[in-house]
């Protein structure tokens, strides 16, 4: 009887330990998934930043900005915004132009998105003076 009770106690003890272990595993797996997602997000953000900086500079230096976007694989939507899906992130570019007294201010907004959430937005602007006849 005493031996039987001792075994039951041991079984109960092990069951409690296993339950505690299962609880800890759930928490730890959750942390692993969180760390993995955070790392993927940071990686995507770093890649998107390099891509967005390069794109902003290409738009700054280009005469035909829409041609640059087309060459880079961007597609224009009905609102005039340009989209590119780059695997872990998406790039969205909106081009703008404002006439000034002696030229044109060309603006571009490069936005990086991941799972429809904005990672960052990078503005770019270039003043193009009007050509003056000599």
């Amino acid at each position: 009887m005493v031996k039987h009770n001792r075994q039951n106690t041991l079984l109960m003890e092990i069951l409690i330990v296993v339950l505690f272990f299962a609880l800890c595993s759930t928490v730890i797996l959750n942390v692993f998934v969180g760390a993995h997602n955070q790392s993927a997000r940071a990686g995507a953000q770093a890649d998107a930043l390099i891509a967005a900086q390069s794109l902003a500079d290409r738009l700054y230096a280009a005469d035909g900005r829409k041609d640059v976007l087309r060459q880079s694989g961007f597609a224009e939507d009905e609102d005039g915004a340009w989209h590119l899906h780059c695997g872990a992130y998406d790039l969205l570019v909106t081009l703008g132009e404002a006439a000034c007294p002696a030229g044109t201010m060309e603006t571009a907004q490069v936005t990086a998105l991941r799972q429809e959430k904005t990672l960052f937005s990078l503005p770019s602007a270039r003043y193009v003076p009007e050509e003056v006849a000599p």
Binding site: Q7, L11, I14, V18, F32, A42, Q53, A61
Partner: protein, 157 residues
Amino acid sequence: MKTKSHSISGAFVFTLLGVFAVFSILLVVLGAQAYRTTVDSASAHTRKRIAAAFVRNAVRAQDERGAIAVEDRDGLPVLALSSEWDGERYVQYIYGYQGQLCELFTAAEYDFAPEDGEPVCAAQAFEPTLEGDLLTVRVTDETGHVSTVYIARRCAQ
């Protein structure tokens, strides 16, 4: 009968212990794998970023009229960024040499010697090209991954 019941109960306890041990090991292996993946991914992104950030910052810091040039020194493509300090002309050369991205800051009067440069990070190849106001730099890292960085000159030439 009683003895048989006891032996099944004992076996169950040991099986439970075995399952516990197996799952413990599995969790440790899984954790190590997750940690390794995270660290590898972070270091790959850092590697990719270093060369791009270094070149971009160097160009931005020296973006003056006529200061940015791409030169060919004995078949070695070199990004030359010149600046003036106390009336003397200095040149910062950025180039790929012996599997490293190197930087050499020297007075313009001295000859360019690639072996004198300081290594910045590992890079199999460094190919700068300048077209109009757009500087294009292709960097191949030690894993063979090619990153292309575009930098627009803000200062008119």
